[in-house]
Amino acid sequence: MMNSRARIFLTGVGGQGSLTATSLLSRLALDRGIAVVSGEIHGMAQRGGVVESTVLLGGWQSPALAWGEADILLGFEPLETLRALPYLKPGGAVFSASEFIPPASLSAGKAAPPSLSLVREAVGAAASRAWFLPLRAIGAGAGLPASGNSALLGALCASGELPLTPEDLAAAIRRHLPSGVVAANLAAAARGAELLQGGTD
């Protein structure tokens, strides 16, 4: 389902690089001549808090998304994917990391962690299409853990959900990322696109 007018909600954990991915996605859209506005809330991003951002394609003016407004949810961490599910329009698409980054309350053993199967189940009930990718492992395989974020963008661009292709993404990575990280991000993006071809969850 190709949609030139789409609202995307992105969520992750401070320090993960989800804002870099947000900015890359926005630049990629602008390079392709698509109207874009993007927003981010990151007052204490470096302190391990939740980092939420948005990319709105096709002529919106508000950079914010409210519950039920997002066509697509990109979760760079599965607990945050679960937390952000109310933003997703029922029947929307979800692209999520499958590896947890436990919050401090969990690491100290004070709260029970949700399982990935619980996340998959909740996502399955809210979304019509969902993909889970091991971003950190993909990043590590590409030689740079943070490049795993590009795998999620690679999957998004290969899914046909947006008028953006894996080739467009590769061009944007070359154009907008620092030269030292281009190779790893290209590899991770390609791996994300490849895993997507394997089918939805």
Partner: protein, 615 residues
């Protein structure tokens, strides 16, 4: 110098609105930029700092907002076109000079950027600084897109130069932190300085001068109002019909309105007044807009300022339109959104609107609150002070990362008002209470407004232990320079000030200093100082761990593991609560990825030891 913000006219870039402001200021030919950093304004001065080498303007991180505004106002008296940036609460600090400089006017021109934070994403209140436009008499621009942030920054500076009236450029977090395409205009180079002419009858506001200037201010604002009537930033959206219903929208509400009208397919149902230059009121423009309407809806986040003004105007001019504003979903609290504006519109237009369906939020999920980083020296400082005082002391906190000390188990914050309040509010509390007071303040905050509280505490024989958490940078807002920073990092353009010398200069005789990560030394000093009375200052030094890694390129030498699973390790887990601690299958460990090798936990419990290579 090569930087995208200096690209030629006609270039198009995806910019943060805060970066758009920087480009707009350069297009106006800004000569001097001063600031105190604060979310959500900080990207503006940080971009100027990166561009400072281009030689087009003079830039400084001032020690606080009042100083920043005064430095810029002085430069403007000397003829420079000036921009001063801060977050909304910073304007409170700067309010004293602000309310006088708007009466004298400033020949070179001055724009004050106030970045407000409705919703309190990273602030202690959600005050609406459009109030200052009315209170201090500042023309007020409110951008709603990155392009407008650029265009309005330029227009605000040019208006300030032309009218000599200081101007407010007011953003909110949503605006400051949105990204959108921005098309660049010409970069004409620095504005010419306006020649200084001595005029104490205008610039020295003794009472006789001040009375005359109050009238001059009123006249000048009337002249500005005539320009506001003509401004391209205030426009009525052409509509095929002229329906008897209208909407007046300002700030980011304009974006929500645009999207909500499209979503409801209601674009022809209302006339829209896009209000971008919102003060002083363009009375004629508003009257022309309101006159044919039967009803009007006012969309503004925060306080009902436009609403009150429109109601007053309607009453004064006998305009029959019914005015709707705050009430129902349009609250004074937090932020508006597209669905919220859609709901208000539906009700205003008497149309159907179904709330958007969405899946239920899960309140049971483990929270992920911001936390002091693994290896943060503040955690060590709080632990050591608690080890001595426990719950017996009252902890007076201040603004910075260390405010996060309020979280359990550190519990190192009992109250807080604003920048610098730890020392003075702590003094007052101790004057009445029989409990000891420990005040925590960071290095940048100490120079911002801790010095005066400290001088007062000494002068009035107050009784408190002040702990200065000196991490060598302004960590909370992104590691901006402050006077306490190391001279090597500051470089030749800035001079390091010694905190200990400043403290002693304020008359404090009991001053001690230690490395914040040295538990034994810090606890011994706290124990010693607890026995004394009067003003005591403990300076705890250790670079911010993020700053040390990024700017000082300090590598991690070793990490820690839990060697023995015992009560001592468990107690350290529970009381120190480092984010690198991991509990899996009942076994305690330290995440080697997150551990910074600060070596505090082995000092607390012998069950923690250095991790061997590869272990």
């Amino acid at each position: 110098m090569n930087h995208p913000l200096l690209d030629p006219p006609g270039s198009r870039h995806l910019l943060l609105a805060n970066e758009g402001i920087v480009r707009g200021a350069l297009e106006a030919g800004v000569n001097v930029v001063t600031c105190y950093p604060g979310t959500p304004s900080s990207e503006v001065p940080d971009a100027f700092a990166r561009l400072a080498g281009c030689g087009l303007f003079r830039f400084e991180y001032s020690v606080n907002e009042k100083v920043a505004l005064e430095v810029a106002a002085g430069a403007s008296l000397a003829g420079a076109l000036c921009l001063v940036t801060m977050k909304h609460v910073g304007v409170n600090v700067a309010a004293d000079p602000l309310l006088t400089m708007t009466t004298t006017g400033l020949p070179g021109g001055l724009v004050l950027l106030s970045a407000d934070d409705p919703g309190c994403h990273s602030s202690q209140n959600e005050q609406d600084n459009r109030m200052y436009a009315r209170f201090a008499h500042l023309p007020c621009f409110e951008p709603a897109s990155a392009q407008e942030a650029k265009d309005m920054a330029r227009a605000a500076l040019l208006l300030a130069r032309e009218t000599q009236q200081p101007v407010l450029l007011r953003t909110t977090t949503r605006v400051s932190h949105l990204r959108g395409p921005v098309e660049f205009g010409p970069l004409p180079g620095p504005a010419p300085l306006v020649a200084y002419r001595r005029d104490p009858g205008r610039f020295v506001p003794v009472p006789a001068v001040a009375r005359a200037r109050h009238k001059a201010l009123a006249a000048n604002m009337e002249a500005v109002a005539r320009k506001v009537e003509e401004s391209p930033f205030n426009r009525v959206e052409a509509s095929s019909q002229t329906p008897p219903l209208g909407v007046i929208a300002s700030g980011i509400s304009r974006a929500y309105l645009h999207d909500a009208l499209e979503a409801g397919n209601w674009r022809d149902a209302v006339r829209v007044f896009h209000f971008g230059l919102t003060w002083p009121l363009p009375v004629r423009l508003l009257e022309d807009f309101l006159r044919p309407l039967s009803r009007v809806l006012i969309l503004e986040e925060g306080e009902p300022l436009l609403e009150t003004a429109v109601r007053a105007l309607a009453q004064e001019r006998g305009i029959p339109a019914g005015v709707s504003g705050k009430g129902g979903v349009l609250t004074r609290f937090g932020e508006y959104s597209t669905p919220l504006v859609g709901e208000a519109l539906a009700s205003f237009l008497d149309r159907e609107s179904a709330p958007l369906p969405f899946s239920r939020a899960r309140p049971d999920l483990p929270q992920r609150p911001p936390n002091l980083c693994a290896g943060c020296s503040h955690r060590s400082a709080f632990y050591a002070v608690r080890a001595v005082y426990g719950d017996s002391a009252v902890y007076s906190s201040d603004i910075g990362c260390y405010t996060l000390g309020l979280l359990p188990p550190l519990d190192a914050a009992d109250f807080l008002f604003c920048m610098g309040s730890s020392l003075s509010a702590g003094s007052g509390f101790a004057a009445v209470s029989d409990r000891p007071v420990v005040a925590f303040i960071g290095d940048s905050t100490f120079f911002h407004s801790g010095l005066t509280g400290l001088a007062n505490a000494v002068f009035n024989r107050h009784n408190l232990l002040a702990v200065i958490l000196d991490n060598g940078t302004t960590a909370m807002t992104g590691h901006q320079p402050n006077p306490g920073m190391d001279q090597k990092i500051l470089g030749p353009g800035r001079v390091h000030l010694d905190i200990e010398a400043a403290v002693r200069g304020c008359g404090v005789s009991l001053v001690r200093k230690a490395r914040a990560l040295n538990q034994k030394a810090v606890q011994a000093l706290v124990r010693e100082m607890k026995e004394e009375r009067g003003v005591r200052v403990l300076i705890l030094e250790e670079p911010c761990v993020l700053f040390a890694r990024r700017s000082l390129a300090r590598a991690r030498r070793r990490t820690v593991r839990v060697a023995i699973q015992d009560e001592s390790a468990r107690a350290c887990f529970d009381s120190f609560a480092c984010p690198a601690f991991r509990l899996s299958d009942g076994r305690m460990d330290v995440d080697p990825e997150l551990c910074t090798g600060c070596m505090v936990c082995p000092q607390i419990s012998p069950s923690f030891t250095v991790r061997a290579e590869g272990a």
